[in-house]
Structures are given as structure tokens and as C-alpha cells.
């Protein structure tokens, strides 16, 4: 376990991580000990994160060492696509039993590796550690080493038992495993000045394939995609690429940064969501490759291709613009960067009434403000009732979100579109953008809404559950408006730091009492932002507001 904790510590020290950058040395040492709230949380675990990050490697056998829950309940639930091997879709697990728990599961693990090699002979096996074998002390590093020597085949340990942390940490631990055991272990057959790595892209619904033809046309070779539609050998020899693009998610920042450090591969963070972002990314790829030795004419060809693709996409979208006039969108995204989707929707002429920023960084928020104006409605955290009210008050005509919130919209008979992992359509690149617009149009104008909103024959108008829920919400709001004391109480009770459970009122009091002006000061006084650090942005906003308020008072 000591090497695992060292790896975790290393991930917490990652200078490329925006959240870490906001922490003091001492805080960083504590790591992302975001203690999830028992009975109030339901995200994935570190194992989930590691598996999600690596499973799109298509020709690798992914073997989960643990009881049946870890693989049996979860396999075959992601829609990444493969252009070759389908081995990644096969679920392998040691399915350890009571005897293994008592006597140790290492033997079973070793035998499992042998069985997989005998039956499937993959180029490599990834072994995922889970909670129970970690607790009983199964040393998967040792077993993988022994198997590697015995079978002369890469057997890679992925140390990511669920209880070490959340999904996001698991993503990074997966990246560490690649850096430690895979990247740089093989040499490519040949290299070109146009070799590009794509990092943190999972080819969900085959999205990457909407962009790949453009890169092909420019002569740019995707040397390795980590991990969507990736192959083991490609990743193993990816250290010879000339440049890298890190796609959207911050899940694998450690991989991109360490590859820059170790192999001198520069990277940029880009997105293929939205027309302008796609163009920007293509330009940046061309620029970096030229910088690393590709001929300068690549940029001319890139610009020509961008001009052509943009024109095509605009033409396809243009016909939807009149249909979208006055239509408003509520955007609730999880990990996908809100601003890239915001830009995309605005291109289609839709009005954004709100976007979630729960997982956004300070830079993300700035970007959103830039796009939506100063009064951008940024939603930190919304209860189902609030989301519903937004939809119902006609402040939004459609909700775009991940699958988890879909039933709020659907059960309220409101249009909804999945823009998260489980979506069935690919929205990347120029064609993806057109597809997204098409899907929104289909959802908005589906005649089903008129049908499902009709009251039942026995229903009195205004007496369905939706109107009752609305009436209740309005009554609550009215009660608050009539009672300033209570309203202030509610306002002050707003949870700012979820990890350490610190309320707005506590922070405000601390700022006033101690004349605080920095996030660090607030942290020392209240413990707020002492966990994952995500609320540092919110605390800065509170500080800014209170400072401007006190200036106003001073001016009077």
C-alpha cells in the first residue's frame, strides 16, 4: 500500500491541477481528502474512475481483481467504440469468494492471468485492484511482476481500490499506471513530423471518428489516443509523438504534463465541442506540429480545411435558427466543460438561461461570463425541485444534462437531451455540432409534449401533481419573502463548502470578525475549502462581494 499512497500523494502534488494550485503546501500534502458525505453522495469510486479511463483501450484484457460487485454489476455499461478489437468489451473478473478472502486471492489472480493469456492472448493485461483484495493484502504488483516474467507479456497493475477516493482520483491513478508501466516501453515502427497524441478522449459513441477524417486529410497521424479506440502498442510507443492535445477533461492532466516533462512532448488543452472550438483546436494542433518540425504549409492547409468545414456546418445549422428563436436552454453538465457546450449552443441561436458550474474552475467561469455576459446564470447546485421550477416557469424550454437528472425533466413532461456519457449520439466536431442541433430540434418540436401534457379525463385542471408541486414551491417562496428573518436564515444556511460542511453565514461572520481578505484566511478561520478546494472560487466571490459592500458603506 505504501507505493499506492506515494502515487496518490504524487497525484495530489500535480502542479497542472488547478485545484491543487489553489492550495497551500500543507493543504496539498493532505491531498484531496474530500470526505464524501455518508448518506448524501453517490458518485463513482476510484476503481470506477480508473476503469473508465483505461477501458477504451480496445485490445487489452481488463481484469478486475475483486468480488463480483465491482465487475458483475458494472461491465458493459459504457459506449466507447472500437475500430478493431472488441476484447475491451469482455468482462474479466476474479470474482473472489469467501475462501479467497480468508486465504488471500493472489493465486486465483495469477491463474486468471494465465487463463486469459491461454484463451485470448491479448497484447497486454491490465489488472485492477479493488477494495477487498487491498484490505486482505493481496499484492497485485508482485503477482503482475511474476506473471510478466512467466508469460513474457505486459501485465500492468492498476492500483485503484474504490475506497482511496472518488472517480476523479481514479482517472489520475490510471494515468499514473500508464506512465509507470506502459508509455515509453515500446518503439513505434516509424515516426512522422505529423504524429499527435490525444489524451483524455474516450471515443464515446464513436465521437473521435467525427474528427479523425479531418486529421487524416491533413496528414496528421493520431499516434495514440489515450484511451478511446486506443491500442496497447500505440500507447506504449506514444512517447515518440511530436505534440499532444488534451481533450476537455482534466482527468489525465498528469499524463499530458509528465509526458511533456519526460519526453518533451508539448500539449495544449482543447475541445472539439462547438464549431469555433473545433477550429481553434485544429489550428493549435497545426501550430504545435509546425513548431516541432512539420512544414509551415500545414497551417495553410489547416486554414483551408477549417474554412470549408465551418461553411458547411453553418449552412447546415442556418435552417434551424428561425426554429430556435426565443427557445431557452437549461444546461446541467457534470464533467464536460460547460463553456464549450455553451459556445456550441449559442452558435445555433439558442438562448442559455442557466448553466451548472458545480465542477467548473475559475477560468471556466470567466469563460462563461465572457460568452453569456456578466449576468450569466451560473448554477452551483440545484435541487430537483429547483430544476423543475426553472423548466416549468418557462424560463427554459429544454434541459440538457447527464442521465442522472433526466427523470426530473421527463416526469415533468419537459424536453430533455442527454449530453453525458450514456448519450447515443456523437456531438463532437463540425458534424457533431450539426447533430446536436438536429437532436435539440427533434426534442423541442416532438408532438409528444402536447400529448403527454394533456390532463387525464378525471383530472381537474390545476390539480395535478405538477401544479401542486409548483404551488408548494411558491408558498415556500412567499413565506420567505414575508419573513425577512427566516429568509436571512435560509440565505445564511446555504452550504458553501460541502466537504467540511461550512455555511455561508459562518464564512461571512468570520470575514467580518477577523477582517479577512483571502481564501487562506477564511480557510484558517472556518475550515472551508480545506477539503477538495472546489469552493475556493465561491469563497473568492463572497470576499469580493463583501469588500465591494464595505467600500460602498465607507463611501457613504
Amino acid at each position: 500500500m505504501s507505493s499506492l499512497s506515494a502515487t496518490i500523494q504524487d497525484v495530489f502534488n500535480e502542479p497542472g491541477c488547478g485545484k491543487n494550485a489553489n492550495k497551500s503546501e500543507a493543504e496539498r500534502k493532505k491531498g484531496c481528502t474530500k470526505q464524501l458525505q455518508p448518506g448524501g453522495a453517490a458518485g463513482g469510486c476510484a476503481f470506477d474512475g480508473a476503469k473508465i479511463a483505461l477501458q477504451p483501450l480496445t485490445d487489452v484484457a481488463h481484469l478486475v481483481h475483486g468480488p463480483i460487485a465491482c465487475e458483475g454489476n458494472s461491465w458493459d455499461n459504457r459506449g466507447a467504440k472500437s475500430s478493431g478489437s472488441n476484447l475491451w468489451r469482455t468482462g474479466f473478473t476474479t470474482d473472489i469468494n469467501e475462501t479467497d478472502v480468508v486465504f488471500g486471492g493472489e493465486k486465483r489472480l495469477f491463474k486468471s492471468i494465465r487463463e486469459i493469456i491461454e484463451k485470448y492472448d491479448p497484447p497486454a493485461i491490465f489488472v485492477y485492484q479493488t477494495c477487498v483484495p487491498a484490505m486482505i493484502g493481496d499484492d497485485i504488483d508482485a503477482v503482475c511482476k511474476a506473471a510478466r516474467e512467466k508469460f513474457n507479456k505486459p501485465v500492468i497493475p492498476i492500483n485503484s481500490p474504490g475506497f482511496v477516493g472518488p472517480k476523479n482520483l481514479g482517472n489520475k491513478l490510471a494515468g499514473e499506471a500508464l506512465l509507470q508501466h506502459v508509455i515509453g516501453t515500446e518503439e513505434p515502427e516509424y515516426t512522422t513530423p505529423y504524429d499527435l497524441n490525444i489524451i483524455g478522449e474516450y471515443n464515446l459513441s464513436g465521437e473521435l471518428w467525427q474528427v479523425k477524417p479531418l486529421l487524416d486529410e491533413l496528414g496528421i497521424r493520431i499516434m495514440a489516443c489515450i484511451s478511446g479506440d486506443g491500442k496497447y502498442k500505440e500507447v506504449a510507443s506514444s512517447h515518440r509523438a511530436k505534440a499532444a492535445m488534451m481533450v476537455c477533461s482534466k482527468a489525465m492532466i498528469n499524463v499530458a504534463r509528465k509526458m511533456e516533462e519526460r519526453y518533451g512532448i508539448p500539449f495544449f488543452e482543447g475541445s472539439f465541442y462547438g464549431i469555433e472550438d473545433s477550429s481553434d483546436s485544429l489550428r493549435e494542433i497545426a501550430r504545435m506540429l509546425i513548431e516541432r518540425g512539420a512544414p509551415a504549409e500545414l497551417m495553410d492547409r489547416t486554414e483551408a480545411l477549417i474554412a470549408r468545414e465551418e461553411a458547411k456546418a453553418w449552412a447546415a445549422i442556418a435552417k434551424y435558427k428561425p426554429r430556435f428563436e426565443g427557445k431557452k436552454v437549461l444546461l446541467i453538465t457534470g464533467g464536460v466543460k460547460s463553456w464549450s457546450v455553451v459556445a456550441a449552443l449559442q452558435e445555433a441561436g439558442l438562448e442559455l438561461v442557466g448553466t451548472s458550474v458545480k465542477k467548473s474552475t475559475k477560468e471556466d467561469k470567466e469563460r462563461i461570463k465572457e460568452l453569456m455576459g456578466q449576468d450569466a446564470h451560473m448554477i452551483e447546485d440545484m435541487t430537483p425541485r429547483e430544476m423543475y421550477k426553472m423548466l416549468k416557469d418557462a424560463r427554459a424550454d429544454i434541459m440538457l444534462s447527464g442521465g442522472r437528472s433526466q427523470f426530473i425533466a421527463l416526469k415533468a413532461s419537459m424536453p430533455w437531451l442527454d449530453i453525458n456519457q450514456e448519450r447515443h449520439h456523437a456531438y463532437m466536431g463540425y458534424v457533431g455540432m450539426v447533430k446536436l442541433v438536429e437532436e435539440i430540434d427533434k426534442a423541442l418540436y416532438n408532438p409528444v409534449w402536447a400529448q403527454v401534457r394533456k390532463p387525464a379525463p378525471w383530472e381537474k385542471s390545476g390539480d395535478n401533481w405538477q401544479s401542486r408541486a409548483m404551488a408548494q414551491a411558491e408558498a415556500e417562496a412567499a413565506a420567505l419573502a414575508a419573513d425577512p428573518v427566516k429568509a436571512e436564515e435560509v440565505r445564511r444556511a446555504k452550504k458553501i463548502c460541502n466537504c467540511k460542511s461550512v455555511e455561508l453565514g459562518v464564512i461571512e461572520d468570520a470575514i467580518l470578525a477577523n477582517n479577512l481578505s483571502t481564501v487562506e484566511g477564511v480557510r484558517d478561520a472556518t475550515n472551508a475549502s480545506g477539503g477538495c478546494g472546489a469552493c475556493a472560487v465561491r469563497i473568492e466571490e463572497i470576499l469580493a462581494q463583501m469588500v465591494s459592500a464595505s467600500h460602498a458603506i465607507a463611501a457613504e
Binding site: 455518508p38 448518506g39 468480488p67 473472489i96 477494495c131 425541485r385
Partner: protein
Amino acid sequence: MATVTVSKKACSVNPLKMSQPIGGALAFMGLRGAMPLLHGSQGCTSFGLVLFTRHFKEAIPMQTTAMSEVATVLGGYDNVEQAVLNIYNRTKPEIIGICSTGVTETKGDDVDGYIKTIREKNAAVAHLPIVYVSTPDFKDAFQDGWEKTVTRIVETMVEAPKSAARRDPTKINVLPGCHLTPGDLDELRTIIEDFGLEPTFLPDLAGSLDGHIPDDFTPTTIGGVGVEEISMMGQAGWTIAIGAQMRRAAEAMEKKTGVPFRMFERLCGLEANDALMAFLTEISGRPAPMKYRRQRGQLVDAMLDGHFHIGGRKLAVGAEPDLLNEIGGLLTEIGAQLHVAVTTTQSPVLERLPTEEVLIGDLEDLENLAKAKDCDLMVTHSHGRQAASRLKIPFFRMGIPMFDRLGGGHQLMVGYRGGRDLIFDICNLLMADHEDNHEPTPDSWRDGVGPSHAATSH
């Protein structure tokens, strides 16, 4: 008489099995105002949550004690207490159902003791129903988790009647196995009510996960059997248990309350439903309603029409024991041969299956055996789709999870009507497959191959 063997492989490939705790959690979801809580690390819950959401296409209430590494080593009292209090404060549940997982069982957390202490320390939850079931992931399977949970609910929540005179012979307890869909439960409810009897289902997924529009944004289950109704189950005249997995719960009910029970190991197919009708006639004193006499005729007719297509089929079924018994039984009764039967856990019904061998194994076993025995119809849950497409044989989806087709929650199997519809669905699949892939051509005749299965000559 089938022999039951256990796969000797070290590595399970393409699991058929799902874990015990989520089987337990699903049972709690059939209770009204319930919040199932898995005592384990976050992933234990989130995997189950995603699985059920994908299957039922509903918002699923399920919580976690979010055990960290440190909490796991030191013991999870604080996490259980915090979880119970948080759930109580946020969602005001009528009941919290706790299932343990591999993580907390390896450590050996004494959750029953924890609950006692939590009640003593926190007056707010002193009388809140909290039921705890031990369901380690490294033992048994989904069906066992359901079985243990229902038994535990009976043991802890049903009250023994104060006197036998309070018994109401028109009230019937129904203990359904986890192989029945919400649609099946609704069908059974109708049948039982048509005999003038009043059934109480424990658990009642038809109330909570049948896809209805809720009355409010409730974070707990919406619908299902209530805590009060469960406590009154001891006053019923009879208990009907469906599936061998429910024997223990039925025995627990009889032991605690004296309510006699009748087992129906199967409720799919002609004989099984004749037995149900006879039993309901006997205990209600009413003849079977006209409606069921007609439906029986329709099932018989469907069996006659379907036997041309199903007769001679070589069947590969992967399912939990009770579901395997239901569907394997029905299809062999109309002429299919159950060549390959793969299941997840031990059960007394396995020996009685109409086949030579039953394997406790995975979908790789199902695929390999189906290939070796040249099977031409595969029945299992959605995860079997890859195997069936590699074997190029028709694939009928049954069981949890069914995430790549709609309506899994309403697939009907019980009652005369359920059997009739199931036969039609499977026969239509076989006919479409025949038209698409097995129509004879001059070449196929010349090469002497012919249509690949003679049974579909119709």
C-alpha cells in the same frame, strides 16, 4: 434430474452474476418511502444505481455510507450513523434498509450493534424502522441478496397476530422472487383480486418501479408496500411464495405468525397456472372467473401455434435459478431442448430442471457450450448480446439488466396471459430470424446444407 456443477475457472469472463447487496437493495426498493443504503465504498452503490437506472429507466433511490480507506480499517460506525442521520434529515424516509458489502464484511463491522447505539444516541431515529441484512459481495449472488432481505424484513417487521381470531381469510400475502417483473406483479395482483382476495406483496416493485409518474420529487421510493401493511401481514389467511428463493421468507412468516404458505416454484406455463387457479379457487371458495377460462384456452392455442417453431430448438439459457426454471420449463414443455443451462448460484430447483447438466458459471461458459452443442436460441439478460451475435443465433432478453431494449419492467411471464405473450414474442423472433437468415437458396440445397434448422419448416 440435472447434475449441478460449479465452473472450475479462476477467472470469470463476461459475468452473468450480479452481487448480493444490490439484490438486497432492490428488495428494499419494493417498500414505500424506503431508502436502501449500502454499507461500503461509493462504487458499491454507484454501480448498482447505474445498473438499475439503465434497466428500469427510472430515478433510483440508493445511498452509500461512503467508506474511505481509513474508515474501513477503523470500522464504519461513524459512517453508518452519519448516513442514517443524513438520510433521515434530508429525505424523511419511512424506512432505511441497510445491506453490507464485501468491504465492510471483510472488516467485520457489527452493524446490528451500530444501529442499536445510533438509536440510543439519536432520539430522532429511535423508532425509525431500520432493517439490516448481511450481504457480502464475495458470497452468493443477486437472488440470494433478495431472498435474505425479504426474509429479514419478515423477521423484523411483521407482527405476530394477538389472537388467531383476528386472521382475515380474504387477505393473502404474496412473496415474489426477484425474477418477477413489475408487470408480473400487476398481473398476479389482478388475478388474485379477481377471486375476491386482497393481496399484499412483499416487496412490491409494481408499486414503486413500474414507470409511473410520481406525485412529487421524492428522493425515496415512490409507492410499494408500506411499513404498516407489512406489520399487518401476520393476519393474512395464506402466504403465496413464488420461486424457490422465497421458501425461507415464507417459512419465517409461518414461524412467526402461523400463516400457512403455499410454494409456487413456477408461475410461467400451463400447469403452473392451473395449480394457481386451483389453489385460489380452494382458498377463496369461488370458481375461476370466466376471463381466465378464456385465457387458458388462449395459452393452449398459443402453445399449439408455437410448438412448430419452438419444437426441436436447442436452447441455451443463462439466468438466475428461478428465472432459469421458469423459462427453461416453459420452452421445454413446448418441445425445445434445454441443452445449455448456466446459472449464478445454488438452488434446490436446479436439480429439477429438464436438462442433464446445470453449470454455475458465466456468459463465456454459456457461449462456449452453446457453440459446442450447436444451440439455436439464446435466452439471457442484455449482457448476452455480444455472445449471441458472435454465434449468429437469435437472442431473447430476459432478466436484469435489460438496458438495450425498452419495456423490460413490463415483460410478462406469469398467468395464462403472460405465457401466451411470451410464446408469441419468442416465436416471432425465431420466424424473423428464419426469414432473414435461413431461407433456402439453390446454393444451400446444392451444397447439401439446407436451412440450418429443420424445425422452422413452417
